[in-house]
């Protein structure tokens, strides 16, 4: 298994609390900022499946212990597997994780995720697809994969592409951090509740004896408030973001940002350009294309495609940036990755195409998502 090399968990990594009709799942892996281990994913799958059948459960609350909701998937373990020549173990990790994402996206009962802290990568995957996402003043959201040599996965090509204008391309390519107010403004969060009121909110949610989203929403509304966007918020720069991040290619995006920067001195624009230039060129290319394709696909199709992509990343035939990115950011922490290909212009369309094709391996299979009897309209698309 993906993290089979790590020491066995001393206590449950997912705690469960049962209160009347509500079940609260609490990520409990605080030292790793609640990064999702393989065991946690398996446990979550079991719990979600059981609760769907259990008519005594009307509502699922998900939160994290400590200062993180969940900082992502346990990529360190996956990279260890790759280095030991076991990319298929990593693929198995993602298959389970994406299946969980799909289950959440098509879940028949409301899920309330309390995002009181860090929400990154895999953490977004187990919350944003759910019905209600409650942000607080402690929320920090990011999809930082492009800087790691990966790409925004866990169904991000579905939810990022549905943000207003081209904000999703911005968030996905730059890995920019959003606070709770920004999450609410762009729609990643459905509510903003000050952390001081969270325990009251949870108490109120325990008493809900209905799965009607309208009723649940009304309760959360009572504890919500309208936060102020900070003056330097990226969300106030939507005009520039739409103008530049709507361009057809990564190169076009960067050059249109550079044109903007030439017209006026603007720290935010130059910082954005710097971030893009530091990220893995291959990651930027496949991330952009993934988000663009996601815009026209249902969540299931997005996950199937992302699974193909992630297997190519793990296989490392076109680029080994994922291993290099993890080395530079997570292991050696020198923050100086050596990307290969090193520049956007060295990447041909055919190289990008490879990531979207079937994996050429006898044992490899496409991601097979479970058939769901209840599927909301927006979860389905044709192609």
């Amino acid at each position: 298994m993906a993290s089979s090399n790590s020491s066995p968990p001393e206590e449950d990594e997912v705690l469960v609390e049962e209160k009347l009709f509500a079940r609260t799942l609490i990520f409990n892996r605080t030292r790793q900022l609640n990064a999702l281990s393989y065991q946690m994913i398996i446990r979550m799958l079991e719990l979600f499946r059981a609760y769907e059948k259990d008519s005594n459960v009307k509502l699922v609350i998900v939160k994290g212990k400590g200062r993180a909701f969940c900082a992502g998937g346990d990529v360190a373990a996956v990279v260890r597997d790759i280095k030991e020549g076991n990319w298929r173990l990593g693929a198995d990790f993602f298959r389970k994780e994406f299946t969980l994402n799909y289950l959440i996206a098509t879940y028949s009962k409301p899920q309330v995720s309390i995002l009181n802290g860090i929400v990154m990568g895999g953490g977004a995957g187990v919350s944003i697809h759910g019905r209600f996402r409650v942000a607080t003043e402690n929320s920090v959201f990011a999809m930082p994969e492009a800087a790691l040599g990966l790409f925004p996965d866990v169904g991000a090509s579905y939810f990022l592409s549905r943000l207003p204008g081209f904000f999703g391309e911005y968030v996905g390519l730059t890995g920019s951090r959003l606070d709770g107010a920004e999450m609410l403004a762009c729609g990643l969060a459905t509510h903003f509740v000050p952390s001081a009121r969270l325990s009251l909110l949870e108490e109120a949610l325990y008493k809900v004896d209905s799965s009607d989203p309208a009723i649940v929403s009304e309760i959360i509304d009572k504890y919500s408030q309208k936060p102020h966007l900070k003056a330097k918020s990226a969300h106030l720069r939507l005009d520039v973001i739409d103008k530049c991040f709507s361009r057809r290619t990564v190169e076009d995006i960067i050059s249109s940002l550079e044109r903007e920067a030439a017209n006026r001195r603007d720290d935010w624009i130059s910082a954005t350009i710097q971030t893009l230039k530091k990220a893995s060129p291959m990651s930027l290319k496949i991330s952009l294309r993934s988000i663009r394709e996601g815009r026209l696909q249902g969540v299931g199709q997005c996950l199937v495609r992302e699974y193909r992509m992630v297997c190519h990343v793990l296989q490392g035939e076109v680029s080994k940036d994922f291993v290099e990115g993890c080395r530079a950011i997570l292991v050696d922490k020198d923050r100086n990755p050596k990307w290969e290909p090193s520049k956007l212009e060295y990447i041909s369309d055919r190289m990008v195409d490879r990531y979207f094709s079937k994996v050429d391996d006898e044992d490899w299979e496409e991601l097979k998502l479970p058939a769901r009897s209840y599927l909301p309209g927006y979860a389905i698309s044709k192609l």
């Binding site: 309208a214 103008k243 361009r247 057809r248 815009r295 209840y374 309209g377 044709k382 192609l383």
Partner: protein, 667 residues
Amino acid sequence: MDRVSRRTRVLTNHLIGPPPETLLAANPCLNYSPPELSEPSEFDPKAMRSLLDAHNLQQRDWLFGLLIQSPLFNPRTAAGKVFVSPDYNQSMQQQREMTMKRITYLLDRGVFHGWLTEKGPEAEMRKFAFFEVIGIYDHSLAVKLGVHFFLWGGAIQFFGTKRHHDKWLRDTENYAIKGCFAMSELGHGSNVRGIETVTTYDKNTGEFVISTPCESAQKYWIGGAANHATHTIVFSQLNINGSNQGVHAFIAQIRDADGNVCPDIRIADCGHKIGLNGVDNGRIWFDNVRIPRENLLNSVADVSLDGQYLSSIKDPDQRFAAFLAPLTSGRVTISVSAIYSSKISLAIAIRYALTRRAFSLTPNGPEVLLLDYPSHQRRLLPLLAKTYAMSFAANYLKEIYVKRTPESNKTIHVVSSAFKATLTWHNMRTLQECREACGGQGLKTENRVGHMKAEYDVQSTFEGDNNVLMQQVSKALLAEYIAVQKKNKPFKGLGLEHMNGAHPVIPSQLTSSTLGSSQFQMDAFCLRERDLLNRFSMEVSQHQKHGQSKEHAFILSYQLAEDLGRAFSDRAILQTFLDAEATIPDVFGKLRSMYALICLEEEAAFLRYGYLSMENAAAIRKEVTKLCSELRPHALALVSSFGIPDAFLSPIAFNWIDSNSWSSTQH
């Protein structure tokens, strides 16, 4: 009470999911079940889409995304899904302004980059791909762009010389100027040679003087003229020293940069139309408008400073033919857009027919899905097969157009005329059938199908009336026929080579496997074309023998001319389908057979002239029913393969119960 409880029982039978004992209590209502759950696909719709769209798939998807993401394209949410479509409830003037704003948005995103300044098949195909995507969103937006880029821009490219290209093309691409194309007049539409606008040359000032001598000479239906255009191409008779040199094209400015109408120009609005109200069609009068000598588009003919008429083409007929070149590109884009329109309406009607039920076969049985009725299959699936066939025909037309050479001009002219007429007629028929197949829901503007009838009706008229175009096809075929007889050479080109071979024979007993063979299908189509061409030429020469002029003889033989035009078109379409088929799965053979057999069944000429016997016709009719049931399981995958994003379909194509729920009205 009995009726009520019976009705409840019937309805509960439709429920999917909950265990039977809770049925009555839980939810005595109809449930929407997404067709994806019950209709597995036996082929990969993505692969099929790449065959249908054929080129620039990623760029198309980028542009789809660009439209979905901007509030300018009027996104609305229904049952959790976003749909984009213009607000047709806006006034005509508002719709026109929105069209212009959308153009500006696309311009700023670089969509039009290279549309006029880049050359070569690759650039042209990309331009076509973008144009098709835009047309899927809104016909007005496409037409307004088409006028600016293909007609105004095309006229400068084709009729102009370097000085015009340098001066106008970049400014056109950047919308520094806005062009229109003044060809039609109140008194003359398809007969361009008869237009009455007159231009003379004043050698004292070195200027041309354009005038509208009478009311019937006012320019009419000029897209862009009513509100936005700053410049126009003017088609006019050129009168030099009292002698008429025929129709020529000039550039005239009609508005200044602030949008004020120029002196000696009068402009009036064509007013509200049955569709395309996002396009500002106008009328123009020229009161001795003076333009510089350089504004004559002089690739074909020129006037020297001292007023001498100079032309490399001496024959006025040929000179005139050269002027119609930009209309060819119009016919190409119209043909293609007609097919995309059919695809939209079929995707909507078929998705609806896979989720909507009506009537039970047994007293307590579940109601039957619309598409499970053989009659509903017969209404929609042959149109689906035709749309597939014509999709390949449209791709073929695009291909020969972008690879055009002086030698291929005739083929392009004949094929584009035939396809433009056939494909746009097919589209109108498809829209009407799909509208009816959606029942009352088809009448809602938000569901697109019904509204598109009004938006696309114009296609059978602009860029050449369909009937006139089909006559031109027959005329061209007759000319070819006469030339072959005179020179005693075999037929070459226009796909007429089959005329050189032996007369095909249709077997008297048609088995299912014969009916499905491409050999038989092609034989039947060729037989019809061959015989009609023979008959047509015979009838025309008979009339001529009785003293009629060639022109009049042609008019008298209109019935055969129409039959022949259709025969040519159908055969050419079948050929493109067969060429595409080499690469594709099994379902393709069924579609092709459906296309061929439905033509055999519907076209009266096969029985009228005895190409098929009554027994043949009965066998074909039976086979069509069989093909309907064989295509039925593929229906969803076949429309999914059109690659039209959900946002460009409509609420009834998805969860139409949720999108019509009470809560959806409470915002």
